[in-house]
Amino acid sequence: MPSILILRDNQYDPQYRNMRDVFVLGAGTTKYGKSHLSARELALEASKKALVESGIEPTDVQAGFIANAFSLSEKQGHLGPIIMSGLGIADVPASTIESACSSGASAIREAWVNIGAGIYDCMLVTGVEKVSQLDTITATTYFSFGSDYIFEGACGASFPGLYGSIARAHMSKYGTTEEQMANVSVKNHENGMLNPNAHFHKKITVDDVMNSIVVASPLKLYDACPFSDGAASAVLCSEGFMLKMNGHASEAIKIVASGRAGGTGALHQRPDLTTLNAAVLAGREAFKQAGLAPKDIDFLEVHDCFTIAELVALEDLGFYPRGEAAKATQEGQTRINGETPVNPSGGLKAKGHPVGATGVGQVVEVYEQLNSRAGHRQVKDARIALTHNVGATGGSCAVHIFEKN
């Protein structure tokens, strides 16, 4: 029986002819967690921080992208003009980019395209989410709308349930254990302790994870990222614009690759449930564009919405062979001082997961790390970093690589 092909023979190979270099001039974030502020207020706070970090005024912004998934839960759509108006630049065009949990990286990607193509020289990308006004069941329901709803949400699968089935498939194919997955959570909480903007500042043990309540087996509460409020923002610009910024230019980081790919919305249409094909393809494209390999990356921020997702990410991106990321995590290889530091920010698990903000927040972490401003969670001598941001269960994925010279 024919199966869905992982790689089509005639798959399009994106062409980046005559693209200009694009830089992150500055980036900033709100604290992640439960906030009494609305999405528009959180977005303004993060945007202002990014503008200050970049040394520019709102009037320097030529266009914007807002990354957001659930603003309708606050009875507010059309966030672009609301946020631009809040910055006093209502005439500047801004629209929302939505690709579930990878909205943030998708917005970064589209700004990179616009600047690279020479259309704009300076863009603001702000990701934001506000969900704490929803009770757990309602939030769970909203999140299930990111699945292929007819077959998944409407048949009883919650988001943790979908990743729970990925986890069980990984356990039965590679012998991954629940204790090994728990190590991801312990490590990311350890890192989150060192991040003042993280949702959780709580050290946990493998036993704490194993004894936490079951949400969607084999995943337990401490295998799952929280519902967070928060916003993150970055200013992207061309080389010419950056060079005019004098002092701030020295902190700019270069986007050396932007890869993205898609996958089926529904898990049951995939030939292999232990990998996200979109992440494999996006990673491959990014490494090819940058002319780099996993061994060249000093640290990564990956999409650990659930513990199993971090293990699958490391295997999809080629940092570890299939089935071996769990053991590497257990050995401490992915800790801040390990050979492959993963999620020094605390990741989605401990730093938090304000859906639309997450992918932009990963860029904020990269900006701070590559400028040696990450305090106690600083990765030593970090110069090249990778971000991996997944939409839903891999219906979309964007991978970026950044370099500081």
Binding site: F151, S158, I166, R168
Partner: protein
């Protein structure tokens, strides 16, 4: 100018409404590609294998085996009174995969991967399976 050839000039051979009516009446319906034979339970208009738009509506087997699953203890609104239950990906005996839920599953030992299951006509929401 498109040179796309389609045999389904009247639109999709299986609408969501028809699919869901089929489920309520005890039938699992989906597509078979008339060009390459690929079978899929979905709402699509093009075959993901040969990329032709030549899908026909077919009915599939009611029995199959569990490929992977989760046991939901926290559930979306519609299912909050049903916990605990398993949400599973099932491979039907004639090939295609489908998702569904299995009531009253509370622990992993209740449902080994590979367990044989049967689709069950039901007034409950979604697609319901039971262990054989």
């Amino acid at each position: 100018m498109s040179n796309l050839e389609t045999e389904n000039k009247e639109g999709n051979p299986l609408t969501i409404k028809e699919f869901q009516e089929g489920i309520h009446q005890g039938r699992i319906e989906g597509y078979r590609c008339k060009n390459c034979g690929h079978k899929q339970i979905d709402i699509i208009d093009f075959c993901p294998v040969c990329h032709k738009s030549a899908l026909e509506k077919v009915e599939f087997a009611k029995e199959g085996k569990v490929l992977t699953y989760t046991i939901q203890l926290v559930a979306p609104e519609q299912f909050m009174n049903e916990v605990p239950y398993a949400w599973a990906i099932v491979e039907l005996d004639d090939g295609p995969k489908i998702t569904g839920w299995i009531p009253f599953i509370s622990k992993a030992s209740d449902l080994p991967v590979g367990q044989r299951v049967r689709f069950k006509k039901s007034y409950l929401p979604g697609i319901v399976f039971e262990k054989i």
